[in-house]
């Protein structure tokens, strides 16, 4: 990892997706922000990964364009339990 993460608590999914790709010189591709990796300490390469081996990847995409509001902890102020009772909301 090239940079120490500078994540702050109030980050929401919408904020995360505001700038999630940056230009890169890698064959017209753009790097996915925050995906940088460094080798583990004292690690050495012993060869390329076998290109014929299977691999499974999970690709996560941005949330819907932000017309839906995600409340922060500051906004909710209290737990859903407290909220449910203060608003007489149905329970399950």
């Amino acid at each position: 990892m090239a940079r120490k993460p500078s994540l702050q608590f109030a980050t929401t999914s919408q904020e995360n997706s505001q700038e999630n790709s940056q230009e890169d010189s890698h064959q017209n591709l753009r790097r996915v922000a925050g995906s940088e990796r460094l080798p583990l300490p004292n690690a050495r390469v012993i060869g390329p990964a076998d290109p014929e081996q299977p691999i499974r990847l999970t690709v996560y995409v941005r949330s819907r364009p932000a017309h839906t509001h995600v409340p922060s902890l500051k906004e909710i102020g209290h737990s859903p339990y407290e909220w449910m009772h203060s608003h007489n909301a149905p329970t399950h």
Binding site: T12, R37, A43, R56, L57, S79
Partner: protein
């Protein structure tokens, strides 16, 4: 919560990209906001602009990449994270075996059954009926070393423990395999075997809430394993948990190269935890077992992730001396740097609103940052005053670690949910606002290395260990 969901167009764009690059779409979900794809390493590496190598280091061998993952212009702004290329081992279990071989209850009176722990912490009378607790289990391949971490549970051993030792009905367990081999119990003879951890979690939470339904989320020790398992649990539509117990973690930061979490993984895990909190799911996480350093070798203090996420109930550890159902002394668990409760001040997360009146100190590290204080609560963890649970070899023995504390709190919250008739949901705001004084058992003696315990919140035991009856009374008082 739809605000967290994906637009179908974005999901389709990723599917189209995958297919164009000879990668097969296994699962696509707008709710999870993810597309699971499969193919050959060569095709996948080319598609995402990644050079994959096999690396060897003192801890083993792994398939790794250096630098970022890439996407084409057509996916600009759409893809937030890609996991699965790098399979270095992420996460370690937080259980500790007693230094003394367990002989008998008479010879070692400072080992307690979970039911006795529930008694001396005054848990209110309930059995967890109607509640669903998810327990996370990590096992499977360890990097590219050819080594595998076995781990799981044996119904036969659990039946023996619950029926013959505790004299109660064993809990109902349902497996959810997200990644890896699923339930593969070992005999405890291998260093990498996590069966002791799994049994500890089930025995602890299952004894406290035996009528709860337990969803066992199996996944692998990778970033992909962490993110996918959490996302699956918090978006589950069937058997959705109201409580999640996680007895694993990794230091949240460290010197360059030693940081195991990528920024994208920290963000996606934290987002899943935020989703959990807002959906009324309480996530109990072990705060770590290596004191205030978490054994990071940079002469600084570190807290663990995901315990340091502001969206979880971080669980620290204590040492308990009790007799005849009464606690005579409770102190910070600290048997040395390799066997002490985690806790401190986060270097990643700001001080959350709910902790603003908790007197969280500044970090002792240079810069003295103000940040999220860890843990929130605590409970029995010292292996020398350990919990008597079933071991992989079929014998009942003492074990400890903050791995015992997280499932204990999970079981207690199941009882509280049952008695209140509604899920408590994310506990922290109400914990700090309404239960901070005179409700929990304040543990004010001891230290975990750099931080000392004291009156009120501290970075060793949080607000303290539980007094279940007082917690229930305080919560009932809030809704009168």
């Amino acid at each position: 919560m739809s605000a967290f969901e994906a637009d179908a167009k974005d999901i389709n764009a990723v599917k189209k990209f995958a297919t164009a690059n000879k990668l097969k779409v296994i699962e696509a979900s707008e709710v999870k906001r993810s597309v699971l794809i499969e193919g050959k390493i060569g095709d996948a590496a080319r598609a995402f602009g990644v050079d994959l190598q096999i690396w060897e280091h003192p801890g083993g061998r792994y398939r790794g990449r250096v630098g970022p993952v890439h996407t084409p212009d057509s996916l600009r702004g759409i893809v937030e994270a890609v996991f699965g290329f790098d399979n270095r081992v992420m996460g370690r279990p937080y259980f500790r075996r007693s230094r003394h071989r367990f002989v008998s209850r008479a010879a070692q009176p400072l080992n307690y059954l979970p039911t006795e722990i529930a008694d001396f912490y005054s848990f209110p009378d309930a059995d967890g009926s109607g509640q669903t607790i998810a327990i996370f289990v990590f096992n499977g391949a360890l990097g590219d070393s050819g080594q595998t971490a076995v781990g799981g549970y044996s119904q036969k051993l659990l039946k023996s423990y619950f029926k013959d030792t505790l004299h109660i009905t064993p809990p109902r367990l349902t497996d959810v395999v997200v990644h890896g081999p699923g339930n593969k119990p070992g005999d405890g003879s291998q260093d990498t075997d996590v069966t002791s951890e799994v049994l500890l979690d089930i025995c602890m939470a299952g004894a406290v809430a035996p009528k709860a339904r337990f969803m066992m989320y199996f996944t692998e020790f990778t970033e992909q394993g962490w993110v996918d398992a959490l996302t699956s649990a918090v978006t589950a539509t069937q058997n959705r948990p109201s409580i999640i117990s996680i007895s694993y973690g990794n230091p949240e930061d460290g010197p360059t190269g030693q940081i195991l979490w990528t920024q994208q993984a920290i963000m996606k895990v934290n987002e899943a935890l935020q989703r959990a909190a807002l959906a009324g799911i309480n996530v109990c996480v072990a705060a770590g077992d290596q004191g205030s350093t978490e054994e990071v070798t940079d002469h600084r203090q570190h807290v663990d992730y995901p315990a340091s996420s502001p969206w979880v109930l971080a669980c620290g550890g204590t040492r308990v001396v009790a007799a005849n159902g009464v606690i005579n002394r409770e102190t910070v668990w600290n048997d040395g740097p390799s066997s002490a409760t985690g806790g401190g001040v986060s270097s990643l997360f700001a001080l959350p609103t709910y902790q603003t009146s908790a007197n969280v100190p500044v970090s002792v590290n240079p810069g003295h940052r103000i940040g999220r204080g860890v843990p929130d609560v605590s409970g029995i963890a010292d292996p020398d005053t350990g919990v008597l649970v079933m071991g992989p070899d079929g014998t009942v023995g003492g074990i400890g670690g903050t791995s015992a504390t997280a499932p204990m709190w999970a079981g207690l919250i199941a009882r509280l949910n049952q008695l209140l008739g509604t899920p408590l949901g994310f506990l922290n705001p109400i914990l700090y606002k309404n239960l901070a004084s005179g409700v929990l058992r304040d543990v004010s003696e001891g230290d975990n290395g750099a931080y000392r315990a004291g009156a009120g919140w501290d970075a060793c035991t949080g607000l303290g260990s539980p007094n279940g009856t007082r917690i229930l009374a305080a919560l009932k008082g809030l809704v009168k």
